[in-house]
Structures are given as C-alpha cells and as structure tokens.
C-alpha cells in the first residue's frame, strides 16, 4: 500500500495577464512571468507549487508527479525533493488518467489529485485515512467556501476511468471537510492575502530566508540600504535591492531580484520577481509584475510603458541564467551532442533551453 500525488498546473488556472486583460481598457501583453499561472509566481520566496510539494514530501508520499500544461513557465524549485517528477503535457485530463494507471502498475493504490492553484494545510494523512475508511473510488474535499480542487482517488477502482467520470462520482461521494488554512490563487488579491497571511504567521508555511530582526525576512543576497526603512512584517527576496530612503511597509513582499529605487514607498503590496520600481513612487495595495500593476483597491490593471517607472528584467535573467548554465555544462563536458540541457535539470522546466525561451 502506498500513495502518490498528481499536481496539475493548468493554463486554465488564472494568469496575471488574463486578469489584467479582463480588467483594463488597454490589453496587456503576455511576457515574462505573466505567461505563467499565479501559482508559478514566487510569493515570499517560493511558489505555491513548491509549497504544495513540500507538504506531500513531508508525509513521505511515494511519488509526486507534476503535470504542466505545455507552454507554462515553472520556476526552478529552491529545494529538490526525492520522488518528484515534472512532465509537460499537451492535454492534462488524459495525462492524469494515465498517471493513475502508472501508479497502479507501480503498486501505488491511492493518489491525491490536486490543482496547483489550491493550497491547503490540512493533514493529508488524515484525508488519506478518511478516504481509505470510506472505501470509495474518489473522495472530494471541501472548506467553508465550497469545493476544493483536491481529491483522493483509489487507483484500482478508478482504473481506466476518465477524469471527468471520476469527478462526477466525487459529487455523490462522502466529502472531507477542511477546517485548516486554505488559499485559492484565483486573483492577484488572493496572492496579496496569502503573502500577508504568511507574514502575520497565520499559516504553517512562511517566508523563505531568515529574520534579520523580528518580522523582517531577508533572503539570500538581499541588499537593504542603511537609510531604507522596513516596517515589520515584510519580506525581501533573493538578490533584491532596496535603495536609500525607500519605505517597505504593511506586509509587503519584495521578491527575487527586484529593485526598489530611492524614495519609493511600497505599502501593502506584492512586487513579483524581477521587477524594477523607479524612484520616488508611491505603491499601495497593489500587485506589480514587471510593468504591469494591479491595484487592489480600485480593482484595475494598468501597463506602464515608461521603463524608468517600472519594468521587468525577467527575460534578461532567464537568458543570463541559461547562458551561465550552458557555459558551466560545456566546461564540465557534461553535454553530449544529442543531449538536451533539460536532462541536467530534472526539477526545472522553466529554465530549460528550449524553443520558447529562444523565441522570447
């Protein structure tokens, strides 16, 4: 007996750019991180996908399979876990069914199926035990806000059944009610709320890095000017720079390689990775990704065309990263003629040297 987990990253999960398009008069272009669903964006140092994997790894899940819909950018994980495999697929539903059949062949009887935009801190072993005791094909989960995209499936009973049929069966099955912390990343607002919850310590998962003083988390290589003011709680990500006289306040998180220039105020905001914010700006109640800004108070998205005000360096970083990896690999003579770089990074899909990256 054992159990596996199938984590699904679908392009149907909300993307920052989609929300921006639907909210603003001016269409927002897809570039950099915007092409990825919200769960693939780092929040307080790690993506929601990585946090979900950590929970499955913590209960010694036999196999964790991440099914990523083709074309989605998935950043590299900070910690590599055993038994984690990433597979890029064109059609997710048949892929889930196939994965369940594979599990059965490997002797794994039960599997969690989870959409990666849903994060819960429930005791997964307890969910599993409930499912096993109820002896049903599929066990759906609920919280106070309704159904969650998390199911437990008996691989043997579900063998060959399409995912749609399984989910229909779930409607008639006994439900597992989750009382613990749950977040659904369906909107930039939920992203902001999740960051604030982590900084307030309302959930088990927390910001990465270490606390330099109570309530201030600074990740590796974060550079905060002596004259900058950080009001706790706040998070400053890997390699992020906060220049002189900047103010980071009210549960704000500044992600990887961001730069907050002199005199700028960031209040109750998420600044997503690789974003440069210009001097003397006042950002409040916003989620910023490159040159796209989503104001949560007014529920409006705008694109800033002036790169001096705000811009993204995501593409540059990806290319630099890939180039440095390539050089390193050549030096180590690790690349054979017919080998792709992807084989060197089984945990990473997003950083692979592939067609889509070259196109960018």
């Amino acid at each position: 007996m054992g159990f596996g987990a199938v984590l699904v990253i679908s392009s149907r999960n909300r993307r920052f750019a989609d929300i921006a398009v639907s909210s603003s008069a001016q269409p927002v272009s897809h570039n950099g991180m915007t092409g990825a669903p919200l769960e693939c964006a780092e929040i307080c140092g790690r993506t929601l996908v990585e946090r979900i994997i950590e929970r499955y790894a913590a209960i010694d899940c036999d196999s964790i399979s991440i099914l990523v819909e083709a074309g989605i950018f998935l950043p590299r994980f900070r910690v590599e876990h055993a038994n984690v495999s990433i597979e890029t697929v064109k059609d997710l539903r048949p892929a889930v069914t196939r994965k369940l059949d594979e599990y059965l062949e490997q002797g794994i009887d039960h599997a969690f199926i989870q959409w990666a935009d849903t994060y819960t801190e429930t005791d997964l072993l307890d969910v599993f035990c409930f499912h096993r005791e109820s002896k049903q094909t599929v066990t759906p989960t609920f919280d106070s806000n309704g159904a969650l995209a998390l199911w437990v499936v008996n691989c043997e009973k579900a063998q060959g059944s399409p995912l749609e049929t399984l989910l229909q069966q779930a409607g008639r099955a006994s439900r597992y009610f989750i009382r613990e912390f749950v977040t659904r990343l369906s909107h930039p607002r939920s992203m902001r709320e999740f960051a604030a919850d982590m900084l307030r310590g309302r959930c088990e998962t927390g910001p990465s890095g270490r606390q330099t003083r109570p309530g201030i988390w600074c990740d590796e290589g974060a550079d905060v000017h002596r004259r900058a003011r950080l009001v706790a709680p706040a998070y400053i990500g890997c390699g992020a720079k906060v220049r002189a006289d900047a103010l980071i306040t009210r549960f704000s998180n500044i992600e990887r390689e961001c730069c907050i220039d002199s005199g700028t105020v960031v209040e109750d905001s998420c600044i997503l990775a690789y974003t440069i914010i210009g001097i003397c700006l006042d950002l409040s109640h916003a989620v910023v990704n490159g040159n796209e800004l989503f104001n949560l108070e007014r529920d409006v998205a705008i694109e800033i065309s002036d790169p001096k005000v705000m811009r993204s360096t995501a593409t540059v970083h990806k290319l630099l990263f890939t180039a440095s990896e390539l050089i390193e690999a050549i030096e180590n003579k690790a690349i054979e003629k017919d080998h792709k770089l992807s084989k060197l990074h089984p945990m990473s899909q997003g950083w692979q040297l592939n067609g889509s990256l070259i196109q960018e």
Binding site: M1, E121, L125
Partner: protein, 134 residues
C-alpha cells in the same frame, strides 16, 4: 517613563503641541542617543496633536534609526490615529494595540504557525505506520 529590559516605554502627553513637545524631547533625547535604542511610545492619552507632534515623532524615529534602533507606537488613541493617517505618517511606524505587544515585538522572532488541529492518529505515526496497519 518605564524601562523594561532593553525597551524604553514612554507615555506621550494629552496635548502634543509645540510646548509639550519641547519638554518631552528633553526627557527622551538622551535615551535616543544610546546604542540601538528600542523605544515604545504609548499614545493612549493623546487628545490633541499638531504638526509639531508629528514632526517630533519623525525626528525620534530618525534618531533611533541612525543608531540601528527602532521606535514603535502603541495604543494609538482615535484622535492621534486620524492625524497620523491623514498625514500618511502611520505607515512609517509599527503600530500595536497595547504597550505589551509593542515591547514583545522587539524581542520575539516570529515562528511558523503550528498545525491548527491535532491528527487523530498521533503525531508520531507517519506513512510507514499506516502502511504497516493497512
């Protein structure tokens, strides 16, 4: 004034105007000149605050930050909260409901929240035990 360990707690007067500010600063200034001053200002009694009061708060914060210290506000009265919010000064400070909370915030590093409910099977039991049982 109350000094609890390394944290200095001071109660701001009812009328925080130019005259009161001068008297208050005379008392606080030497404390701000110490190494890494940790100051909590109790704002519960404030009934009236003018620009001199706001300026004094900013001055004290600047002085504390210069020496790697910090200044926090506690029990902010409704009258002072309005002024601080209108002048958008409130976001510069960490604000706490009580003085005790403010003092604790200087000392306690946040830890991740623990599980909200205890599992029925006991914390020591993991997948291996479940496998053995099933």
């Amino acid at each position: 004034m109350d000094t609890r360990g390394p944290v200095i707690v001071m109660e701001l007067p009812e009328q925080l105007d130019r005259a009161e500010v001068k008297t208050f600063l005379t008392e606080l200034q030497p404390l701000l000149e110490e190494e890494r001053p940790s100051v909590v200002l109790d704002c519960s009694k404030i009934q009236h605050m003018d620009s001199a009061g706001v300026e004094m708060l900013l001055y004290c914060l600047e002085q504390a930050m210069k020496r790697d210290g910090d200044l926090k506000l506690a029990a902010v009265s409704p009258a002072s909260a309005v002024i601080l919010e209108l002048m958008r000064v409130d976001r510069l400070f960490e604000v706490f409901e009580t003085t005790e909370q403010a003092i604790r915030s200087f000392q306690v590093f946040a830890t991740p929240a623990s599980a909200q409910t205890q599992p029925w099977y006991g914390t020591s039991q993991g997948l291996a035990e479940l496998k053995a049982a099933g």
